[in-house]
């Protein structure tokens, strides 16, 4: 296991809900941090498309996701039939944090965040809800 959970950044296309300077600042600082990370254009679109990447993300609980409200992000994974594990993934909300705060949350060492759940989620067993749409 590396020192740092894998980082996934959502660029939240199509809407101005995450300020441009936050997105730009986070992207640039992640790039300059010398780490490997993944960026997706829009998690909402991927959920609607049932993109198989969501399955890969959901299978790896050792992840920090920079996106929006944790309840919404969890809901999107459930809708795609790939619920995120209850423990493990951390969701960092770029709608309420600025770029520096987002970076701090993304980059903090594993120890510092162990046991801290940004969002206390209580999602039910709903893996069957999003999967097969008839």
């Amino acid at each position: 296991m590396s020192d740092q959970p894998r980082i996934l950044y959502c660029h939240c296309a199509f809407a101005q809900v995450i300020p441009k300077d936050v997105k730009q600042g986070v992207l640039e600082q992640l790039g300059a941090a010398g780490i490997e990370f993944d960026c997706v254009p829009d998690l909402c679109e991927m959920s609607a498309n049932r993109d198989p990447l969501l399955q890969q993300i959901a299978e790896n609980p050792d992840i920090r996701i920079a996106a929006c409200y944790p309840r919404a992000v969890h809901g999107l994974f459930v809708a795609a039939g790939q619920p995120l594990p209850l423990a493990g993934p951390e969701i960092i909300n770029m709608r309420t944090l600025n770029a520096a705060e987002t970076m701090e949350a993304l980059m903090k060492p594993r120890e510092a965040s162990a046991g801290i759940q940004i969002h206390e989620n209580e999602f039910l067993e709903t893996s069957d809800v999003g999967a097969d749409r008839t």
Partner: protein
């Protein structure tokens, strides 16, 4: 329904065999590729270049400052003799030149050019709150909601949803419907306060007072308006009247925050009636299915 779709990934490689990208160039390049609809991975090692265990997620393009010499991974990442990814040396290219390389190779893999893509606006259900009451299914005229084979509510036709319209989230008695791109909480997924729950409860009470069906009220108003329109045969006035009725509806039932374009493009009175009946029937069927399963 939208078919499952894999979007090709672009890797910006900054491992041993490539010079690092200049910081602001990297930032701009990532932004532009993301805006085109492609996921981007920043790779510092060959590990990220092929994902044999995950068919479909292999990178389609690997871009790097290779200075004329592609890394060994360029020869080894292949399946059944076909390269998994196309490696391109971008040393010395400016932003526009790199983007034309991306466009040339990947533009045909997305449905629409950037700027013309569907804005992913659709309801997302918080199943930790949903009680499967089917009010959302009964309410929506556009077949966005459906039920699974065992009678559970499900968002089935995301792309039918009217962009920027959050109306169904207002009819959910449990505040369980989110629109992640909505401007305000709790609809955007923000935590739900006890005030939010009380407000939603009040809304349902109001709707119950009106006969339990907001669309029934809408129909009555449309019917009255329609009889006037048929006499006047004045389309513009008809439209204005519909708008006025809907505005009044909004103030009666609470601010539904339905965009004007959606209000003015609502189906005709007859279509609304047919759609509302169909939706109600589907909701009843799903509830019956659920009840039958409980007694089994």
């Amino acid at each position: 329904m939208i078919a499952p779709k894999v979007t090709p990934r672009v890797v910006l490689y900054e491992g041993d065999s490539a010079a690092p990208l200049e910081s602001s160039f990297r930032g701009q390049l990532m932004t532009k590729i993301l805006e085109r609809g492609f996921p981007v991975t920043i790779a510092r090692s060959d590990r990220q270049l092929g994902s044999p265990g995950s068919p479909g997620r292999e990178p389609r393009m690997v871009l790097g400052n290779f200075s004329g010499k592609l890394p060994p991974a360029a020869d080894s990442t292949e399946t059944a003799g076909k390269p998994l990814a196309e490696f391109r040396d971008i040393s010395g290219l400016d932003l526009e030149a790199v983007l034309s390389v991306v466009d040339e190779r990947l533009a045909d893999t997305i449905d629409a050019p950037s700027g013309k893509r569907w804005k992913p606006w659709f309801p997302v259900i918080d199943f930790s709150r949903c009680t499967n009451c089917m009010q959302c299914l009964s309410f929506c005229l556009f077949d966005v909601y459906g039920a699974t084979s065992d009678g559970k509510i499900q968002v089935q036709n995301e792309s039918n949803c009217k962009t920027d319209c959050p109306a169904c989230s207002r009819v959910c008695p449990e505040v369980a419907i989110m629109f992640p791109k909505y401007k305000a909480g709790p609809i955007n997924g923000d935590e739900i306060s006890s005030d939010d729950v009380r407000r939603e409860g009040m809304k349902v009470d109001i709707s119950a007072l009106l006969g339990g069906d907001i669309y029934a009220m809408l129909r009555d108003r449309s019917a009255k308006a329609q009889s006037r329109f048929s006499k006047e045969r004045d389309d513009e006035r008809a439209l204005k009247e519909r708008q006025r009725c809907l505005d009044k509806l909004k103030t009666t039932v609470g601010n539904l925050d339905v965009p004007a374009e959606v209000l003015s493009s609502l189906p005709s009175f007859d279509q609304i009636q047919i759609k509302a009946d169909q939706a109600r029937q589907r909701a009843q069927q799903a509830l019956a299915q659920q009840a039958a399963q409980k007694t089994q």
